[in-house]
């Protein structure tokens, strides 16, 4: 039983990161029905920003308390990544908004490749860890081993997701986003600044991914290709939860965290992991194509 709860905790840590990235896929899809395949690589860039800002703060800054350094690092990463995503939208996606859907998807893949290879060429392929901004403390509660970092990952993710949910449901910007996703032909006629709202959506999605990226870099190594697999898993999370649906993306993220952890527990090897995840996706697309929390779309003729 203890082992079981230990595995649940392991899954929560991974699931939090997947959920944070899945949100970006879901929000962008919700608003302009584009699957932003560069999102995994935007996440990768965010970990590198956190790496450089964190290292610089550790090296030069005044003896700041760990928590402040952590928050500064995360905010810097969020800010820069949001800026990057807005630029990508402005220069790579916006000119194609009226083009066939597939052009935009291919462009997104291209942007992803560009980010990967740009990072590889400028920073190099060596895996790295974020500097120990917050010293690790390991302890056990009720026989379950954990660490302060793990709890930070789980709680910070939960808080950020709650904030995002509130923004989307309770603010004017959120209302405008939901309105555009509902009907992108009529809403601009009502005076909603469509371009600005789309930019804000990209910025929000990317900064949430940057929260995930900063947290991820504390416990896992980062490298230029890390965005590929994580991006795929987050994408599956978003689709399983119901792409375009924010709570669905969170649910999907945690679900895939469970899949990743419990595959090697139940099946003989973690090699089956992708098989399980993609099978889940396939089954869902057959029986519930709009995802767990999504609503079926009816086309009007």
């Amino acid at each position: 039983m203890q082992t079981f709860f230990q595995q649940i905790l392991n899954a929560l840590q991974l699931g939090s990161v997947y959920a944070l990235i899945a949100l970006g896929y879901s929000m962008v899809y919700g608003i302009i029905t584009l699957i932003n395949f560069a999102h995994g690589d935007i996440f990768m860039v965010s970990t590198y920003v956190a790496f450089f800002v964190g290292s610089a703060l550790m090296a030069y800054a005044f003896k700041l308390p760990g928590l402040i350094t952590f928050l500064l690092t995360m905010l810097a990463s969020m800010f820069f990544t949001a800026f990057l995503a807005v630029m990508i939208e402005r220069f790579a996606y916006r000119p194609l908004r009226k083009a066939p859907r597939v052009s935009a998807v291919i462009t997104a893949l291209g942007v992803g490749l560009f980010l990967e290879n740009f990072t590889l060429a400028t920073i190099g392929p060596h895996p790295r860890f974020l500097p120990p901004i917050i010293p690790v403390h390991r302890f056990t509660i009720f026989g379950i081993a954990t660490s302060n970092i793990q709890l930070i990952i789980i709680f910070v993710s939960a808080i950020v997701m709650f904030l995002l949910d509130t923004i989307v449901r309770r603010t004017m910007v959120g209302m405008a986003m939901r309105a555009i996703s509902w009907d992108k032909f009529t809403v601009p006629l009502m005076g909603v600044p469509m371009d600005r709202i789309i930019s804000i959506t990209f910025a929000l999605g990317a900064s949430i991914a940057a929260v995930g990226g900063t947290l991820y870099g504390f416990v896992y190594t980062i490298d230029p290709y890390m965005g590929i697999r994580i991006g795929w898993w987050a994408f599956i999370s978003a689709v399983i939860g119901g792409i375009g649906n924010i709570r669905g993306a969170m649910l999907g993220g945690y679900l895939l965290g469970l899949v990743e952890i419990f595959t090697p527990v139940i099946l003989p090897s973690s090699t089956y992991r992708d098989f399980v995840a993609f099978s889940l996706l396939l089954l869902l697309l057959i029986f519930r194509p709009y995802g767990l929390l999504g609503r079926p779309v009816t086309m009007k003729v």
Binding site: T3, Q6, Q7, N10, Q13, L14, L120, G124, P125, H126, P127, R128, F129, P132, V136, R138, T140, A145, T146, S147, Q150, V219, Y220, T221, M226, R229, E260, I261, F262, T263, P264, V265, P268, S269, S270, T271, R273
Partner: protein, 386 residues
Amino acid sequence: MKRLALLLGLIVALSLVVTSCAPKPGVIKIGVNAELTGGIPVVGQSCKNAAELFVEEVNKAGGIEVGGRKYTIQLLIEDNEDKAESAAAAALKLHTAGVLLMIGPNASRNAIPAAEVAETNKMPMISPWSTNPKTTIDPKTGKPKKYVFRACFIDDFQGVVAAKLGVELGVKKPAVLFDVASEYNKGIAEVFKKTVEELGYPVVAYETYTTGDKDFSAQLTKIIAAGADGLFLPNYYSEVPLQVQQARKLGFKGIIFGSDSWGNLELIDLCGMDCDGLYFTTHYAPDIATPQAQAFIKAYQAKYGKVPDDVAALTYDAFGIAVTAIKQAGKIDREAVVEALRKISRYEGVTGVLEYRGTGDPIKSAVVLKVDVPGKKFTYYTTAKP
């Protein structure tokens, strides 16, 4: 027009003078197939560094004499991206470029497919670091390949050394976590399991993962639940720090030890104090270097500012063996070089004495090193003779 003709004539005349001045040394092309990008870039870099150092030394000394004529070495370096298919493609590219022989790839998961290409195209290949037995064995006949050699021991030996090390360190309930998608890791894990069980200590958990995984908490939780007191990690230096940290985070208190794939100082940078005092088996120890090895270590340090790791030392030896064979062959011909390689029975390199007994696999000693994190180095612990 006249002026142009004059100029052309002058150029032709000049080039004739230059070429006829002295007999120009010939050029031998040697290919390097290394993991410069991908999961283990430091391995590729060390291999490239040692190759360039060796060639620089040889060319500075005027090249090598083959059949009465001087030759300089020209290196052709290809990146195999640490991918099986790219390693095979790189081998083919080097073959087409007309290299006399190929050094590399280093990791077994790349060396095995590249060795297939080398064998089919009759191109001699020496892998510095690939310890998996399959590299030099023809999968169809089960016999040794004709054109493939290596400069390191094989995992049938290393797995036994690691198993004995575990028992010596007092492990009673060993567990293994290894990459099931990588030939090297898989091969050595199997030999380890077989040997410790023969020594009377059944493996309590035998867990796997796939290349590129970063979260091992599920498998490690299982290992801890099985009550293991020793964990063998025959995995690459870029993954081991995550595994050690996650094991300690989950409360694993037992002994952790590994194999030659740990032997890179990057391990210490990534892992920090969690890896302090851990042991691994490997090819050479700078601490107990022979005079010849010391000269190499000094030259390498002067050029690159760091102590050569095992990949660098083995690459240097691979080149040493190759050049010895080329000299003995007496002509620039692949078949003659392979013949000469077959005839080398003993070679004293920087990683110790290599003895070949008719196959491409040398017989040599292994050493056990201990990770010293505060000192940022690996210290010599013991030697295991074959």
